[in-house]
């Protein structure tokens, strides 16, 4: 009897272990949008309340872990500082609970860094009733590496001390913005920067980009207080170009400093739809001259914006987390090595994993803002001719068209918001190297370099972004009915 029990017991143990082994540890799930919206926006007090804060990001101490300039070259240590990078924050409130929008002068921030900033602002949010914290990067190509991709190849280039300084500066700027809240009016205006001369360059066919410099201007009721100007422009912040070895905010810094000097208002820069690859033209071969010329030209444009429309005090937003197939093998290696820190889960993709990210749509008056977690190609936003080097790839409906079907005539994009997935490439133009997809670049039959695909999550990202965008816009539309 004991012998039977013994064998039976062992058999039972083996069966239990086998069953537990065979239980799937994580399956691919469809993206489920959990939508959050501001409460009772119809009962909002009809006045804008805004505040601004700014904090410099300190350079790490000498002798600590190395740090690198992000954007171009691997293992490129800076030789000096042209101007220190900042974190700036804006408090936006139309009466039913405010949100914080924090901009950091850096190449990009992964979702773990954004989450840490949010974590440290929990107390502030509780005290002030702040309902959301959104963090974007200016995509500065002359800042310190904050993604880890510009150290020695495949070695995490992030400097722990600098990352801590980024987070602290962001938190400090947010506190200052909350403290400086004041009531006033909000205006929107824009200027075409391609009208008189060409400011922009699109390095990849089709040549589609937003030529406008968009401005949101806050005018305080209390005239003794400083106003605020937020600029959205669809260009990579890399007027210093690839040979630069000085830390700088690049042209957004020059532009904002000039506007602040001329107007007395605080100014901050937000990148728009910059994928594909949209940058400002090279006006001078000496990189510092090019920086100043570019920044001053854009400041000049900014200061000509006169024909503004007042934005009625009405704000709501919708936010969701989502998963996207992580097809890029390079991303898999970076995740394995601990350089990429985004959350992942098992799912249906070329690597067997899904990357987790998030998106927000924000409505201010009649304006709709899409906070996109990466560098989206403009043709995915505004449509137009699409390149067809991947005939099997079908482009989603452009985001502006989706927005229009829900009654939003003006869509603005804030790129690199709350994450940095890399380039969001139109599927119809998604071309990979046949021998080493994602790890090596390829050229198409027109001689175009398909570099962006090597820094993208995968082909499906554009479609998922459009789907998530529609879900969020739909939720905003539903909440107003």
């Amino acid at each position: 009897m004991k012998k039977k029990l013994h064998k039976g017991f062992l058999a039972a143990v083996v069966c239990v272990l086998l069953c537990l082994m065979l239980i799937p540890s994580g399956c691919g799930e469809e993206n489920k949008a959990e939508v959050y919206r501001t409460e009772d926006h119809l009962k909002q007090k009809a006045v804008w309340t805004m505040g601004f804060g700014r904090s410099e990001i300190a350079i790490p101490e000498e002798g600590s872990q190395p740090y690198y300039i992000a954007g171009y070259n691997n293992g490129w240590e800076p030789v000096g500082v042209l101007d220190l990078c900042n974190a700036q924050a804006v408090w936006l409130d139309a009466g039913a609970g405010g949100i914080l929008l924090i901009g950091v002068d850096c190449v990009g921030l992964g979702s773990p860094t954004v989450k840490e900033i949010r974590n440290r602002l929990k107390d502030l949010c509780e005290e002030t009733g702040c309902t959301a914290v959104n963090v974007y990067a200016t995509h500065d190509h002359a800042g310190v590496d904050t993604l880890g991709l510009w150290g020695p190849i495949m070695v995490d280039g992030k400097n722990d001390e600098y990352m801590e300084n980024v987070i602290e500066a962001s938190v400090s700027a947010a506190y200052e913005a909350a403290e400086n809240r004041t009531e006033g009016k909000l205006f929107y205006g824009a200027v075409d920067t391609e009208e008189k001369e060409s400011m922009l360059r699109d390095s990849r066919y089709p040549l589609i980009y937003d030529p406008y410099l968009h401005q949101l201007r806050f005018e305080p009721e209390d005239e003794s207080k400083e106003g605020m100007r937020m600029y959205i422009y669809g260009a990579h912040a890399e007027s210093l170009r690839g040979s630069n070895s000085l830390i700088s905010r690049d042209f957004p810094g020059v532009m904002c400093d000039k506007v602040e000097e001329q107007t007395g208002d605080h100014a901050m820069f937000m990148p728009g739809a910059i994928g594909g690859l949209i940058m400002t033209r090279e006006f001078n071969g000496l990189f510092i001259n090019n920086l100043n010329i570019t920044g001053n030209k854009l400041a000049g444009y900014a200061l000509t914006i006169k024909d503004e429309q007042e934005i009625k005090p009405d704000m709501q937003y919708a936010h969701t987390e989502f998963k996207v197939p992580m097809d890029n093998t390079g991303y898999l290696f970076y995740k394995f090595l601990g350089v990429l820190e985004n959350e992942i889960s098992k799912g249906d993709s070329a690597t067997g994993y899904m990357l987790h990210s998030e998106m927000t749509v924000l409505q201010l008056g009649d304006l709709l803002f899409a906070l996109i977690p990466g560098e989206i190609f403009p043709e995915l936003v505004w449509g137009g001719e699409a390149a067809q080097h991947n005939p099997a790839g079908e482009n989603p409906v452009p985001l502006a068209e989706i927005a229009a079907t829900y009654g939003y005539d003006q869509l603005l994009v804030i790129g690199l918001a709350n994450d940095e997935l890399g380039y969001i490439v139109p599927p119809s133009d998604f071309l990979l190297n046949e021998d080493a997809p994602y790890l090596l670049r390829t050229m198409d039959d027109m001689g175009e370099d398909h570099y962006e695909e090597t820094n993208s999550v995968g082909e499906e990202c554009a479609v998922i972004i459009a789907q998530i965008f529609e879900q969020l816009v739909n939720s905003l539309a539903l909440s107003t009915n």
């Binding site: 004991k2 029990l5 013994h6 017991f9 062992l10 143990v13 083996v14 272990l17 086998l18 537990l20 082994m21 020695p152 190849i153 495949m154 070695v155 995490d156 093998t329 898999l332 290696f333 995740k335 394995f336 090595l337 601990g338 350089v339 959350e343 992942i344 690597t351 067997g352 994993y353 021998d435 080493a436 790890l439 090596l440």
Partner: protein, 150 residues
Amino acid sequence: MKIHISRRVAAALIIVLILALITGLGADLLIRNLGQLILALGDTLGMGKSTADYAAILNQLKSARMDLPSLLNLLLCLPIGIGILRMGAGKRGVVISSKQRALRIGGSVLLCLLLLPLVVVITLWFTDVNDIRFGTAVSFLYDAIKNGIF
């Protein structure tokens, strides 16, 4: 209902747990010290000047977050544990000579030497390193090497 666990079964479970711990630790140490291993074996593997670069890349795994497949590990150690027990126990009530005892112990050791490294390798393969299965990373790395990336 009481389940009586005999001494043999208890001993088997203890041996299995110890083996699982050893192989699990072995897999963990191996992954975390891959960089050091590459440094030591770089010349032998013909990596030349790239040895230091590859070692620097793999040294990042020292602080990796690891999820060892503990259940798989236990399952793989189970037959080894039972084998050791069976080899060492003999028949109840039968006295064995010291030579026979030595042979049984030697057999157990040989079994471990042969099978435990295999268990370590299999454990390694199914370990999640920073949420990526080690085996998956190795497969893609192999493809990349085959395509001349490195």
